[in-house]
Amino acid sequence: MDAIFLQILNGLDKGGAYALIALGLTLVFGTLGVVNFAHGAIFMMGAFCAVTLEKLLTLSVKVKDESVTFFDAYKETPYLELWFGDTGTAIIDWSVPLSIILAIPVMLLIGIVMERSLIRYFYKRPHAEQILVTFGLAIVLQELVKATFGANPIPQGAPDIVSGSAAVGAIFGLGEAVVYPWWRLIYLAFSLVTIGLVFSFLHFTTYGMVVRAGMADRETVELLGINIERRFTIVFGIAAVVAGLAGVMYTPVLPPDYHLGMDFLVLSFVVVVVGGMGSLPGAVAAGFLLGILQSFSSMTEVKDIFPGIDQIIIYLVAVVILLTRPRGLLGRRGVMES
């Protein structure tokens, strides 16, 4: 029971990350009709917003270690600690949550620049060409990050106060050994809130309503005199912000490196396809579903019966769903079928 409970939490946590990335992917696909293979790279760039801020906050005065003579070994003390003492230390400790403030404008800008300077020229081109150009863009972005930050993962700590584990077992009347890292619980809550905000924006604001109208019938909306293209550009920016924030918040879970986006990209596409191309609720549902299935398939009890199932479960489910529901779980007729 304890093990099942923990795997559900793991699944929800993983699912939260998949759903956030898939949400942005399907949003872009639904509005602009673009299959964006650079979306994983946007997630990675978000994570590197956190890395950048941490590097800025920990700019340090370097004291050379005189015992080392062959090269420059030095001990670093961050300026913030020197200038502000404990307050400085606390600011550095909270660098990941603080990165959100940096990531929102940066990712919005990156998204808009990407759309205006490259993606918009591919709206009417075949999907294969969109995939090629966005995949190429992803490679360029990750090589830029590698050239700047190196290939090794760069650890990012969660704030001290939430770096330990929560005794969730005690809350739910399970064993004392049932604990779960605070930060992962925060990540889950963050994904749910972000997903809620995106849905609210699309459903309860006029702007969102126009966007949805544009997704359903672009020509009619344009005939009504609305500049739908500009709104779609903003939507691309919002998708980038969602993926970017998902990346920022994920850094304490997984030390980011330049390849982080590619690791998630393929899975996210499977999530989008299983959920149904262009369907936002489908992407979210499929994200959580596949996350939970992946966690359960990794249990020793399951692997004893089906060895290696944890590595193929997602693709197996994708095959089954596509065979039984070719448009995915909540896919609409006509999407990618012209």
Binding site: D72, A158, V179, P255
Partner: protein, 453 residues
């Protein structure tokens, strides 16, 4: 008249037939001078620089992909080794390795040049790159590493093509065990040695009543490390609760870590390397494993194969964690100091263990050619087999003839709690003597194969 006629009737064809028969008979008899066959007394081999003024070596390292940083460090070490062999720089370990016939004038008087390749940490890409170096660039030797899967694949190719492979960082028992090859040589230590080196330290630090849970990277290196560490820890009285294989590059290991919480285990052994190790260790610490008390003892995490680059990636999570390494820049013997000095002055930071093994391998190959007086691989192999040397940073070392594995001291290290500087991440807990990590040559099976292919 008849005689004249006879001579007159001798056709060109008859003369040709006659001379061919004479040549054949002479060849069979073995007395006919063979001056018309080029290099008649020397056997040809791939990578032969012939009369060229230089000889080429092939450095096949991961320049892209997850081990790119380690690959970059290996490449730096190779370039430094080439400099020193060619007589440039301060000579590094040329001044400390004994015996050594290198004179600082290249190899056999030929200047050393090199080509590089990108393995991408993928067996097929690594083989393609090595093949290109051998066929197109005519390299006399291929070297490189960072993954045992890749090393074994490239070693197999080098055996087929008759070119020596000096393995870089590869830690699987299979490299010089069941997959050993006559043309492959490994200076780096292996999983069995890690187990033998770390077990007594684990016994001292954590006692003999422990229950271990293994998470293992699902490929050759992980399997052999799990096997070796399991055997070594069971030898000191530990019980193995479970061994779970995890896909390479899993990223998020949470679904593999949560079962540990309720398993009754009080030690988690991470048979992971590189990015996988950084991720699994970080996440295990996040799940509160190190703050846990199980069976009345503190829960402990062990990383049998450690490196400074990985400790850097894991940050805080690496502090206090025990593991083993092949070498560490803080060693104070003359060989290590000479290498750290050269490397540090050239690049501004200390070398990694991967850099160290690659540097030493290059010098050892060059020296073996000098000793053999030729680049012919079968002669060079014979010089390396059973070669004993000192001054390369690990004490007296033997290149065992039977399996081409180096035997030398192994380091048990711990993630430093209070680093004095940005490179001061590991502390050496114990320098384990060579005798403690030795094993019979036939223990892991395998056949070396022929000298000439």
């Amino acid at each position: 008249m008849s005689e004249t006629k006879l001579i007159g009737n001798v056709s060109r064809r008859t003369i040709l037939k006659g001379s061919a028969a004479t040549t054949g008979a002479a060849l069979i008899g073995g007395t006919f001078p063979m001056h018309f066959i080029k290099n008649a007394h020397a056997q040809t081999f791939r990578g032969d620089p012939g009369s060229a003024a230089s000889v080429k070596l092939g450095f096949n390292v991961p320049q892209t992909g997850p081990y790119a940083d380690e690959g970059a460090d290996e490449l730096r070490a190779y370039q430094l080794a080439v400099k020193h062999i060619n007589g440039e720089g301060d000579g590094g370990m040329l001044n400390t390795i004994k015996p050594l016939e290198l004179k600082g004038n290249g190899i056999l008087g030929k200047k050393v040049e090199f080509v590089t390749g990108d393995t991408q940490t993928k067996s097929d890409a690594a083989r393609a790159s090595a093949k290109r170096m051998i066929e197109k660039d005519n390299v006399a030797m291929v070297t490189g590493g960072s993954s045992s899967g890749v090393a074994i694949a490239v070693q197999g190719l080098c055996q087929e093509m008759g070119v020596i492979f000096m393995a870089g960082l590869t830690h699987s028992n299979d490299t010089t065990g069941k997959d050993k090859k006559r043309y492959g040589f490994r200076h780096f230590f292996n999983a069995y040695m890690s187990g033998q080196a770390i077990a007594p330290v684990l016994l001292d630090e954590y006692g003999n009543e422990r229950r271990a849970y293994h998470l293992t990277a699902d490929y050759t290196w992980g399997w052999t490390q799990e096997e070796s560490i399991k055997a070594a820890t069971e030898n000191i009285g530990w019980e193995t609760v479970n061994t779970v294989r995890t896909p390479v590059g899993a990223g998020d290991f949470s679904q593999y870590i949560t079962p540990v919480l309720n398993s009754g285990a009080d030690v988690l052994i991470l048979n992971h390397y590189g990015k996988d190790m950084v991720n699994s260790l970080t996440q295990a610490v996040q799940f509160g494993l190190r703050d846990k008390q199980v069976n009345g003892k503190n829960f402990e995490i062990v990383v049998p194969l450690y490196s400074r680059l990985m400790a850097q990636g894991a940050g805080e999570a690496a502090k206090g964690i025990l593991g083993t390494t092949n070498w560490h820049w803080s060693l104070t013997d003359a060989g290590s100091q000479a290498f750290v000095k050269s490397f540090g002055q050239e690049y501004g930071f200390p070398p990694s263990q991967a850099a160290h093994t690659c540097y030493v391998q290059t010098l050892l190959y060059a020296n073996a050619c000098e000793m053999a007086g030729t680049f012919a691989p079968w002669e060079v192999i014979k010089q390396l087999e059973g070669f004993e040397f000192d001054g390369a940073g690990n004490g007296p070392t033997l290149y065992r003839a039977e399996d081409h594995q180096c035997f030398k001291d192994v380091l048990v290290v711990r993630g430093k709690e209070n680093p004095q500087s940005n490179f001061d991440l590991l502390e050496v807990v114990k320098n384990v003597p060579r005798a403690q990590v030795e094993y019979p040559a036939d223990m892991f099976g395998g056949e070396l194969g022929p000298y000439q292919v």
